[in-house]
């Protein structure tokens, strides 16, 4: 699956300069945890927007090559509970 965060959204969230992303997390309305196998996470730059995400996954990375930031055979995936649409706090 693929999705995009616009620069304007990242700026509002506090990213206002080139930033080294070393950790990401997800929030749902109910905390949960499971072990995933064969998980890969890829990040990259794009000129597409959160509303124009391509159905062809590779096309979403149209500014330079994407980077595989996580590639693991087994990963314990834990989500954080929170209110819908309030992902900023952790």
């Amino acid at each position: 699956m693929a999705f995009i965060y616009n620069k304007s959204e990242l700026n509002i969230a506090g990213i206002n300069a080139p930033t080294s992303i070393s950790e990401i997390w997800f929030r749902t309305n109910t905390a949960g945890s499971t072990t995933l196998s064969g998980l890969e996470v890829v990040l990259g730059h794009t000129t597409l927007t959160n509303l124009t995400v391509s159905t062809t996954f590779a096309n979403n990375f149209n500014v330079g090559p994407p980077l595989t930031v996580l590639n693991t055979a087994s990963y314990v995936y834990t989500t954080l509970a929170g209110t819908w649409n309030v992902p900023a706090d952790r």
């Binding site: 699956m1 990242l10 206002n16 070393s22 749902t28 890969e40 996470v41 990040l43 062809t56 900023a88």
Partner: protein
């Protein structure tokens, strides 16, 4: 925690792709299906597929990471006295008139530097630190 940090450039938008190398997993159940629902996630259940077959709301996601330091710029240095050819390595940390820059000269040059011929430098702006133990000169000033 990511095994390889990604440097976001703050110029373009950020694309995220989560995929699996086998068919035993699906992350769909972990969607943080944000109520606004407009920003989309493209997905497909077939882990070998290159194209999505459906879309849903986007996950709520957070990031951790420090700002990236300003890029280091190189400058050219002309050595007037060619009798010695030291190994010179210059670095500029920041390129604003209000930012410090640092120049490193890799060699013992005690007593051989008489003047730094940079019109934007003056003596009172310089700080010399001698450290013969590591055979180097460290110059810190303002450009």
């Amino acid at each position: 925690m990511l095994t390889t940090p990604f440097t976001y450039d703050n110029v373009n938008n950020l694309a995220v792709q989560i995929r699996f190398t086998n068919s035993t997993n699906s992350a769909l159940g972990f969607y943080a299906d944000n109520a606004a629902g407009t920003p989309r996630t493209q997905y497909v259940f077939n882990y070998t597929a290159a194209t999505a077959t459906a879309n849903t709301s986007r996950m709520m996601m957070g990031f951790t990471g420090p700002p990236v330091p300003a890029p280091i710029h190189n400058i050219n240095l002309t050595v007037e006295n060619q009798s010695f050819k030291p190994k010179l390595k210059w670095k500029i940390l920041g390129n604003s008139v209000e930012e410090n820059f640092m120049a490193e000269i890799e060699r013992s040059l005690n007593g051989q530097i008489w003047e730094l011929l940079d019109s934007k430098l003056s003596d009172y702006q310089r700080v010399f630190i001698d450290n013969p133990a590591i055979e180097s000169k460290l110059f810190i000033g303002l450009n």
